[in-house]
Symmetry: C2
Subunit: 356 residues, 2 copies
């Protein structure tokens, strides 16, 4: 396959579908050729044509075009499975938008067809290339803060859940399956090879009753690491995106441009303090450190390009690289999603049987 | 009793004992007279004498002085019970420093003696007069942010647990019993008359193995309110002391001087947004609000003086006021402490049988 460009198509030409076509057409010309799209909505097909992209008149027509090797499915979440299976059976390699399915069972159905047909099936986990995530991952991997015992990852908005299909449980709406699937994937990837032991979660329904408009979850790993993940949508003041505690220091990322800092202790033994007045009492324990015992550093900001995601797909299809987003990673992620729903609904800690 | 000044003494003349004597001597002269102190350490007794305060040579000598009506116990936590009971049996009214005891059983023993002797027994919950707490309580009580569904209360230090008795479990050390007892009391008082339903907690042992050097707990109340309380001691970057989410706005207190703000939505219907680039993707849901749909307000800072705590004691002893810090409040608090230890040790959600 390495001499021929990979024929690429997208099913579902909404916001993300448009994003995928532009990425491949504008930046992946070395590897691939954008052949066309299909969308169930004639208006979206017209928009594609206006953008100079061929719009097939039916899904079948697209899937029967032999020039197409790879299809990205960017539809609402509840039809990922049906379309992915149809595309695999038509001999296409398939990328699904996230969340791959609404539950593990559906995911296993797709994986079975992928194994049967020998075609690639993977998921668009683009946020493994988030620079904030990679920056924190570097600190974690390199023990910059000393042994890390707590990580907090938050995305907080203030607009509730969008009013379209993302607000409908039958279409796979809600924040666990939307932003959650990104932050939870990051949490599972960052902490490898630790096994996840328990999950405690709260689901919120502040702005709507249909499906969750946010969640908070505490993940405890087998070495005791505590990883908190929050996605909420009624927050008019934002807490840091990342907050990481190590034995010798703390790091925080405060915005999408990797603003933030690291503060490290430079003199641990110098713990004693003059008591301060704090509210209606005095405290030595909570007296802020003086500058002579701490040091502030900039974050080691990691640059990344999510085009690497598509490059990996194309190189994999040319036999040059292992695939980055694997079936088993998606299995773990969907099981974690299910554990979060279970914990949130029962208000109990869920024991997680990890399959790492 | 109203014509005579109340005779006041302190047992345990460490940091807090000194604080109590100064408060009463310098500010409560209208109601009370500081008679003296006792400390097991001769050096501390000398310090008292240098400060112009009579130091009794034994606890028995202090307790047998008829001029003393009220004794504050400011010793390490594990001897509160023994001393409180001895003082009650000697006919004294008693204030115990917090935590009142190490567990509910010990508390019930003291309460039984207080009821038997008919003397006052109460606890120094001075942080009910914290201005940050009272400011947030006002917002909560008045529904300023709309219906509040989540409150977060944090105190974060970076010095670990102090190396003295506060580091020894047999003396009632650890952060749950130290700062925890304050923030948990505030949480229980603020949310009245809600019943607490469940407790999930994590205990930390970052800087020492002897006893907890911090904890995080999620309290779920009978109306669904979620109240998160954290006391941690390895944090070199601090999150806000208070963070409160209501349906229409968010409030945060960022320092002990009640710095912070309120941000309220002014136009809920105007939810739609232009997608922003956030990391390796785009988002409408998490696009920050534009200034035309939100409004920022200062916090309604509440002024308070914890001298009100002692005034209430003295007025109560004169028959003029009900006591503010009651036996049953302390029962709830100690049961919550026990639930936190149980949840932290078992990593399970503990069902709380509230006795409100």
């Amino acid at each position: 396959m390495s001499d021929k460009k990979i024929g690429f198509a997208v099913i579902g030409y909404g916001g993300m579908g448009n994003w995928h076509t532009r990425k491949v057409r504008d930046e992946m010309g070395e590897y691939a050729e954008l052949i066309g799209i299909y969308d169930i909505d004639p208006k979206r097909r017209s928009v594609a044509e206006e953008n100079g992209i061929k719009a097939y008149s039916s899904r079948e027509e697209l899937l029967s075009d032999d020039r197409i090797d790879l299809v990205t499915v960017a539809t609402p979440n509840d039809v990922h499975k049906e379309i992915a299976i149809a595309a695999l059976r038509a001999g296409k390699n398939v990328i699904s938008e996230k969340p791959v399915t609404l539950n593990s069972e559906e995911l296993e159905e797709i994986i079975a067809v992928a194994e049967e047909t020998g075609k690639l099936f993977t998921v668009h986990q683009n946020r493994r290339w988030d620079e904030d995530y990679l920056t924190m991952k570097k600190l974690f991997d390199e023990d910059t803060l000393g042994k890390v015992f707590r990580i907090e990852s938050r995305v907080q908005g203030s607009r509730g859940v969008p009013g379209d299909w993302r607000n409908r449980p039958e279409h796979g709406g809600g924040m666990v399956l939307d932003w959650g699937i990104h932050l939870l994937d990051q949490a599972l990837m960052m902490t490898l090879p630790r096994k996840l032991k328990t999950v405690y979660a709260e689901l919120t329904n502040v702005t709507n009753e249909n499906c969750d408009d946010g969640f908070r979850t505490t993940l405890i790993f087998d070495d005791g690491l505590s990883f908190y993940v929050e996605v909420t949508t009624s927050n008019f003041i934002e807490l840091p995106l990342w907050y990481m505690l190590g034995e010798n220091g703390t790091a925080a990322v405060t915005d999408w441009n990797c603003g933030g800092k690291i503060v490290m202790v430079s003199d641990w033994e110098n713990r004693d303090a003059v008591p301060i007045v704090a509210g209606a009492g005095i405290t030595k324990t909570m007296a802020p450190r003086t500058d002579d015992t701490i040091e502030t550093f900039p974050l080691p900001v990691q640059k990344a390009d999510w085009g690497e995601y598509y490059k990996n797909i194309f190189k994999h299809l040319r036999g040059e690289e292992d695939i980055i987003v694997t079936h088993n990673q998606q299995r773990r992620l969907m099981r974690l999603v299910e554990a979060i729903f279970e914990s949130g609904k029962t208000n109990k800690v869920v024991e997680f049987e990890d399959i790492i």
